[in-house]
Each structure stands twice: as structure tokens, then as C-alpha cells.
């Protein structure tokens, strides 16, 4: 069980993550959604103990009850070796181009599990089968450039699974892939989480992929978790103005492109763009782009409220008039 309570990651120019609270139990599938600069990857870095040294951490992070907030690097190494693994967006740059993919995947087993060459090889072959790589005994002798993008991502998933982690963090795992391949990789991650009772944290800006992959979702903006809850509920009836804006701005492939008078139908937009960290408002970070903004929004940080832990002054005001 990974638990995060009011974690803040502070840099000299501002907070990259503010008061993030989360709980990840075995078999959970949690989606983290947000645009660039929303703090998604910083949240993942916290869970992996990979926050840059220049940052100051506050709040509490526990793994099975053990406080890891300020844990030493060697303790984190044992976590990363056996218990938590991560896959990244770009499957080409995450693999060593000069090594056969089978050797790359075998390495953590040899180092952390102390397996011999033959044992490791047998396990790699079994893992390749599990992640859906056809003809694994031939594929594990190949170099990364000989594989397609989807297959490379499968190799990276096999690498992440090498030491049977309890938590797999997938940071934009489908962004670099074509739509149809992305669907298959998404489904594979769901299947692996279910069959291994492994927690999955699926980070993406792609709402469709997150909807497919996860049961719980946390929406992030400017380093804040603005809303979290069951995936279907949050995407179906978004509570936070940012979530609402984000969902509305996504084009609908089935919508009619033109109005009755022949003019083209415009997309609903969120005005402005994500400000840089140093220019973020002290209070709610969505200030300046929000349609229901109130006078206190810029200066007072909204308290997470209600079943979705929504951080919004306007909503708070609505509920308690």
C-alpha cells in the first residue's frame, strides 16, 4: 500500500506539487490526468523516490506504513528494485540500442533476484509471452531497432515486471504510439494489473486512454489535485471547472462540424494557457482561466471538499450558501 498525505514538492521558483493526497492499494488502477506542467510526473517521481535533490519535500509518504518521505537513497533503491517499477513515454530512448532486448530485461533479475543466466533467460521468455510478444525466443535476441514501437513498449513493460513489482507507474505509455497500438498497450496494462493484483498508476493527458485503463482518477492542474474519484463518475459529471473545461475542449468525432446556418461549429475552450510555475496564483492555480472565478480564488488556496476532494471556492460556496 502506497499512501501520500499532503505531499508538497517545493522548488525555489514555486511548488511543483501541492498537498497531494492519494492511496494506492494492490490491484488499484489509478489514472492521473492533466496537461503539461500539471505535476503528473512530479507525483510519479514522489512515488518512486526520484524527486530532484534541489526540491524540499513536506507532507508524508508511506509504503505499507513505513514513512518514506525523507528515506535514504539506499532504502529507495530496494523499493525501486523489487516493489515499484515505471515505464515511460518514449520506448526507443528507454532501451539501450547496443544490447539485445532479452539481456536488458534479464539484467534486473540477475542483479536483484540473483538468478543465473539460464534461469533469467527462461523468465524473460515467460515474461515476453505474458506481455504478448510473439515468438519470444527469437525476439529476445533482437536489438531495439529491429522491433516496432508497440513491441518496444511491450519489452519495457516486461522489463518493469522483471522483479514482480506491486506498483507499476506508466508515465504517458501510449502517447508515442498509433491509436490502435495504444489501445492494445492500454488493455495489456489493465490485464497485467488484474492478473497480478498489481497496482497501476496510469499517467496521461489522453482522457480516452485513462477512461479505458483505470477505475479511479485524479485530475491535476498546476501541481494541485483538483478533483479525484471513480473514473466513470469524474468523467461523466466533472465537478471542478477545470475538469469540465478539459472534457468540453476535447473534440467529439461524431459531432456535426457545421451549424444549421453553414458556419463551422467552434469548440468550447479554456481561455489562456497554463502559466509557468513562478507565475502561478497563490490560491487556486486555475485563477485567470476559470469561468466561475470568485474574489478569494487568487489568494486563498481552496480546501479539498466533498467526496471528490474538489478544490474549488465556487463549489464550496454552492454547497453551503
Amino acid at each position: 500500500m502506497f499512501e501520500m498525505h499532503e505531499m508538497t514538492v517545493r522548488f525555489s521558483i514555486g511548488d511543483a506539487l501541492r498537498d497531494a493526497s492519494l492511496r494506492i492499494a494492490p490491484g488499484d488502477r489509478l489514472g492521473i490526468v492533466g496537461e503539461s506542467g500539471s505535476g503528473k510526473s512530479m507525483l510519479a517521481a514522489c512515488l518512486m523516490g526520484m524527486v530532484p535533490q534541489s526540491a524540499t519535500l513536506s507532507g508524508r509518504l508511506t509504503i505499507d506504513g513505513t514513512d518514506m518521505t525523507h528515506a535514504a537513497e539506499d532504502l529507495w533503491q530496494t523499493i525501486r528494485a523489487r516493489r515499484a517499477a515505471m515505464i515511460f513515454q518514449e520506448p526507443m530512448s528507454a532501451l539501450n540500442p547496443l544490447r539485445r532486448v532479452g539481456d536488458t530485461v534479464a539484467e534486473p533479475m540477475r542483479v536483484h533476484l540473483g538468478l543465473g543466466k539460464a534461469q533469467a533467460r527462461a523468465r524473460v521468455q515467460a515474461l515476453f509471452e505474458e506481455v504478448g510478444i510473439p515468438d519470444p525466443s527469437a525476439r529476445l535476441r533482437m536489438f531495439p531497432h529491429e522491433l516496432s514501437g508497440g513491441q518496444r513498449q511491450r519489452v519495457l513493460i516486461a522489463l518493469a515486471l522483471a522483479c514482480d513489482p506491486e506498483l507499476l507507474i506508466a508515465d504517458e505509455p501510449t502517447t508515442a504510439l498509433d491509436a490502435n497500438v495504444a489501445l492494445k498497450i492500454t488493455d495489456l496494462l489493465v490485464h497485467l494489473s488484474q492478473s497480478r493484483n498489481m497496482a497501476l498508476v496510469f499517467i496521461s493527458h489522453d482522457l480516452a486512454a485513462v477512461a479505458r485503463a483505470t477505475t479511479e482518477i485524479a485530475v491535476m492542474y498546476g501541481g494541485d489535485i483538483v478533483e479525484r474519484g471513480p473514473t466513470a463518475a469524474v468523467l461523466g459529471t466533472p465537478a471542478h471547472p477545470y475538469t469540465q473545461g478539459l472534457l468540453a475542449a476535447r473534440p467529439d468525432p461524431r459531432a456535426m462540424p457545421r451549424e444549421a446556418d453553414g458556419s463551422r461549429r467552434r469548440l468550447p475552450t479554456i481561455p489562456g494557457s497554463v502559466p509557468p510555475l513562478q507565475a502561478m496564483a497563490k490560491g487556486c492555480r486555475f485563477t485567470g482561466r476559470c469561468a466561475v472565478e470568485r474574489s478569494e480564488c487568487a489568494s486563498v488556496k481552496p480546501v479539498p471538499t466533498g467526496p471528490r476532494h474538489t478544490t474549488c471556492h465556487a463549489l464550496l460556496h454552492e454547497e453551503t450558501p
Binding site: 496537461e35 489501445l183 482522457l207 456535426m256 462540424p257 463551422r264 475552450t269
Partner: protein
């Protein structure tokens, strides 16, 4: 009126030789593709990577010639024109690229970059630079800034300003919103719609994202491995896709709706 007409376009690339004396294998990037774009209309091209979308764009921009077929711009075969004639025609069709971070010179003020097509035409008109800035929702004073001072969405606006400064009839947008966040992407798509209505632009809009293409196009060309899988009115194709590949793209794009 037909602005751009592609007739039976085919483009093949020679791949590296496998053996010293063997014939090099050939990749057919685009095979027998035909389409039309009228003034004020948008043709969307959708397909996965390697489907030949960008090869089509490069041929439509006369960056490279097709091995078979013709591209007619207002009735003239652009690949049959001489270099000087083609240069005179270039202001009429312009392109917006995917990556607003690499398509602008980081060491030049953006006002200079935007005016570059005008200089290539031998025209000097500072008022047109200001006009282009305003058309894309920026301030003329922004011309004195460098690219790094702008966000990704603003940079894409600058790239669009550079493309429309020659007052083109046709705009080719190759993955022009793919690098942008969803909330900014909608702004840029709306900007393209605004410009199309005010300037009467024909747009060739290329993307791997069917939802994005669907929101801006009148006609749709679905490509897979260099072939046209479907071509026709976008609403027809999206409502009753006849090909399994189009259906799978719709599934991939429409999960949250």
C-alpha cells in the same frame, strides 16, 4: 471552385540496398491517391504514422514530385512549372508544421521570422506583419520578442501568422495541433476556423487524431499504408464508416464520449 486537385498520386522511395549488387527494395509511401479541396473548405487526412500523410503534404507543397499522378493548383500542374513560375505561385499555398518549438528560429525575433515569406516574395510591408499578428490573436508588439518568450500555443499562433502573411489561398497544416495540450488545441482549431471564414482559405488538415480532424473538416480521407481507405464527406464517413480501419480509429478517438 476547386483549389487543389490531386489525381492518382503515387510516391515510391528506394530503401537501402540489402546486398551489394541487388536491386534496392522499394517502399510505396503513397499509392494512387486522388482528392480535391475547394476554396473555403477543409479536407482532413487521417491515418497512423507511416500511412503516407506527410508524403502527401510534401507533394502538395511541391517539396517533392510524385512518381505518378498530378497535383493541380487552380488548374496548373505545380510539378510541371519551372522554378521561377513555382516561386511566383508559392505565396498562394503555405504550410504550418507540427512542432512550434523547432519551426521558429530561436535567435531571431518572431517579427523577423513572420516577415520571412514576404522577403522571399521581395515585398517589404511592416503593416502586414502587424496585421498577421492581429489575425492570429497576438499583439503587434509581440514581434519584438524571441520564440522562447512564448508558450506552445502562442508559438503555434506565430507559425500560423507566418503562413497567412502571404495571403495564401491554401493552407496545409501537418499535425499542427498534435504537440499542444487539449485546452490550447481547441483554441488553435477555432483560430483556423476563424481564419478560414474570414480569408476563405482552403485547408488541408493532416492529423493522426480522428477526433481533431473531424472537428474541422468537410471532407475526409482516411489513409492506411499509403492507400486511401475511405474518401468522402466527413459526416457520412463518421456516421457510417464502411471500413474496419475507420471504425477502429473511431473507437480509439471516442472512448470518453
Amino acid at each position: 471552385m476547386t483549389l487543389l486537385q490531386a489525381q492518382g498520386l503515387t510516391r515510391r522511395y528506394k530503401l537501402p540496398r540489402r546486398t551489394v549488387f541487388g536491386t534496392p527494395p522499394v517502399l510505396t509511401a503513397v499509392e494512387n491517391i486522388s482528392f480535391e479541396i475547394a476554396a473555403g473548405q477543409t479536407l482532413g487526412i487521417v491515418g497512423e504514422s507511416g500511412s503516407g500523410k506527410s508524403t502527401l503534404a510534401r507533394m502538395a507543397m511541391a517539396f517533392e514530385a510524385p512518381d505518378a499522378g498530378r497535383i493541380l493548383f487552380e488548374g496548373q500542374d505545380i510539378h510541371a512549372l519551372g522554378a521561377a513560375q513555382l516561386r511566383r505561385l508559392r505565396p498562394d499555398f503555405q504550410m504550418v508544421f507540427q512542432d512550434p518549438f523547432s519551426s521558429l528560429d530561436p535567435r531571431r525575433k518572431v517579427g523577423w521570422s513572420i516577415a520571412e515569406p514576404l522577403r522571399a516574395m521581395g515585398v517589404s510591408a511592416p503593416d502586414r506583419v502587424a496585421e498577421a499578428f492581429e489575425q492570429v490573436g497576438l499583439h503587434p508588439a509581440d514581434g519584438d520578442k524571441y520564440p522562447h518568450e512564448f508558450s506552445g500555443g502562442q508559438r503555434q499562433r506565430i507559425a500560423i501568422a507566418r503562413a497567412i502573411i502571404t495571403r495564401p489561398k491554401l493552407l496545409i497544416a501537418d499535425e499542427a495541433v498534435s504537440a499542444l495540450d487539449v485546452s490550447v488545441q481547441a483554441q488553435i482549431l477555432n483560430l483556423l476556423m476563424d481564419l478560414q471564414e474570414t480569408l476563405g482559405l482552403g485547408i488541408l488538415f493532416i492529423s493522426h487524431d480522428l477526433a481533431v480532424v473531424a472537428s474541422v473538416c468537410d471532407n475526409l480521407l482516411v489513409m492506411q499504408r499509403g492507400q486511401a481507405v475511405e474518401y468522402g464527406a466527413a459526416t457520412d464517413i463518421l456516421n457510417t464508416p464502411s471500413h474496419a480501419y475507420t471504425r477502429s480509429l473511431l473507437t480509439a478517438a471516442g472512448e470518453t464520449h
